[in-house]
Symmetry: C2
Subunit: 356 residues, 2 copies
């Protein structure tokens, strides 16, 4: 190639790359409603990104303190070995960094521990949404035979007769004893105080509310491109939208292992509706790094693995001969598409996910 032509070509490439980044920076330096339109696979518009805030109503410090004591108390389990905090560790965004949760007698559960983030914002709880409120959720692990293996009644007996609970219970509620409702209320009061860990994303999205140009300066070019892809081409906000980075809905992404050893019927377990087989609740992506490994089965521990999975349009397992005519064989959601992300785009998306 002619030397001048080569120089010219390089210069065009450089300029064009420069221009693209410039324009992304310019675009994202504007107020959020002027950012590039979110691309999602849903018909309804996705909720914009925003900071996650607890609802203003807060319980008294004494109730929160009682909740904290209960949350960390192994007496909530049958054999006094497992507390809420055994699986929900504050230093790990209230997860445990295990593939699958572990209950009493070292029993391994069937699902990955979910982070406790934004309890005020969920419409359901658990991967299958079997609890409708945080208070319902809080009591369920107590009675789950492979988690705490106890009963609420037994826990109330233990706690109400324990010397070290006398003052905390009285200080919180002006009563001698907890009942089921107050036990749940105290636990949830404590959970409502959990802040998501500060991250580059939390700083960015806080700042973006008031000063978008300062906000965008916090992101490097690759992270900014990743944010843009997250909002557009990669269609992440189809399901991961709003302050919670979740649509509060249930989807089949194809990891149900229907008819196989790792089978998990997901939301069907809560509803018994065959249409819910293989659906799982969209988790928040906040505190993503702290909540590794990911997915309901904890089977992913690399962001590249996740990005490749969605780049391929999720999993679309083919029923074996045995299940060929099974009407319940789960169909992977049509919201997922092949994305055709380039290697650089994947890396940029990962760079953004790492800011969460």
């Amino acid at each position: 190639m002619n030397k001048w032509l080569l120089l010219l070509t390089c210069s065009i490439f450089t300029t064009s790359a420069f221009t693209q980044e410039q324009s992304l920076r310019e675009l994202y330096a504007k107020p959020q409603h002027e950012w590039p339109t979110i691309i999602s696979s849903k018909d309804v518009p996705a909720a914009p990104l925003k900071p996650l805030k607890a609802k203003p109503f807060k319980q008294s410090d004494e109730i929160i303190a009682l909740g904290e004591k209960l949350f960390n108390d192994t007496r909530l389990s049958r054999d006094n070995t497992v507390s809420c905090a055994s699986c929900h560790e504050s230093r790990l965004a209230f997860t445990d960094r295990r593939k699958l949760a572990v209950g009493i007698d070292g029993q391994v559960g069937t699902r990955n521990t979910q982070a406790i983030i934004g309890v005020d914002h969920w419409q359901t709880f658990f991967w299958d949404g079997r609890a409708k409120t945080a208070a319902q959720q809080a009591l369920m692990p107590i009675e789950n035979p492979i988690e705490m293996g106890s009963s609420v009644e037994l826990v109330l007996n233990k706690v109400n007769s324990a010397e070290d609970y006398k003052s905390p219970i009285f200080n919180a509620f002006g009563k001698e004893a907890l009942n089921k409702e107050l036990l749940a209320l105290a636990l949830v009061a404590f959970e409502r105080t959990f802040d998501i860990p500060e991250s580059l994303f939390t700083r960015f999205i806080d700042k973006a509310q008031t000063n978008p140009s300062e906000a965008v300066a916090l992101l490097d070019d690759q992270q900014l491109e990743g944010l843009h892809l997250f909002r557009t081409k990669a269609r992440c906000m189809t399901c991961h939208e709003g302050a919670l980075l979740s649509d509060n809905e249930f989807h089949v992404t194809g990891l149900h292992f229907y008819g196989r050893k790792l089978q998990d019927l997901g939301r069907f377990e809560a509803t018994q509706d065959p249409a819910d087989i293989g659906k799982f609740r969209t988790p928040s992506l906040l505190a993503l790094q702290q909540s590794t490994p990911w997915m309901h089965h904890g089977g992913f521990q690399s962001l590249l693995g996740i990005v490749n999975f969605y780049n391929a349009g999720g999993a679309r397992p083919k029923p074996s001969k045995k299940f060929k005519d099974d009407p319940n064989y789960p169909q992977t959601t049509e919201l997922l598409h092949k994305l055709a992300l380039s290697k650089d785009e994947k890396n940029a998306l990962i760079a953004f996910l790492e800011t969460l």
Copy 2:
């Protein structure tokens, strides 16, 4: 095939299988010194299986109680989020069921948490043996930047000035304050009280001391065959011998990932001796189920995976071109051989390992 010949053949097979099991049962119903000779790859005889007992000397209840309080105290870490118990959970034979340990700020360590079993019996501590005594070991995580990230001095300041430690320290030692030695002593005093979880194997090996025929009746045919393989053809006792099911030595089994992303130089990190590159301390196999996932990198979570690994004679990675002439490239120990275990033999060995 002639019907009578078929029947005859079946009958021969049945009889021979029956005879083999019968004779294993008969053999193992005898006192242990009459059991089939242990086959190992070492020149020295392997130490026989026996119950693991703490040495008789025990510290006072007050010292043990102080040790327990310290062991469970997150104030031992810089940011008050990590205690010894964060990674060493009593319900999991003092492991954490994570692939790799997790310290302050959610930092992921480089190695799998080891069970705390038989502290009296080890000649070294950690996968690389960098501590020579349990007391040395106990203080090291405090100062490790990705574990507790603190310093012994800082911990002593915190603990000695804490109101809730005043009585426990005085009751234990008749002093106002702990020093480094007493801190370690209390922690180890508590660790010395850890019993390995009761299991079919612990019941079997206890009973085998006094009543071998009752002991062998505890095992089913497959478990018994597995025990026999463990002691003979599978050569497990080459390294997993005696009460601890460990030879207290360091070996290269081939999982060092030398020159690659997961590289772990093992014992070399403690000794700086190139001959120690890629060597890891033989772990105990007691409480095997509770301490999953296994190996220094936590990369194995199925016993079949482990059995296949040793059946193949361990890993013998070939140096890439870059390391072809590297004199430090670790050689996998010659103690490991291909074992040629049949599928049934593998299953029997696994059935035995599951009793541990």
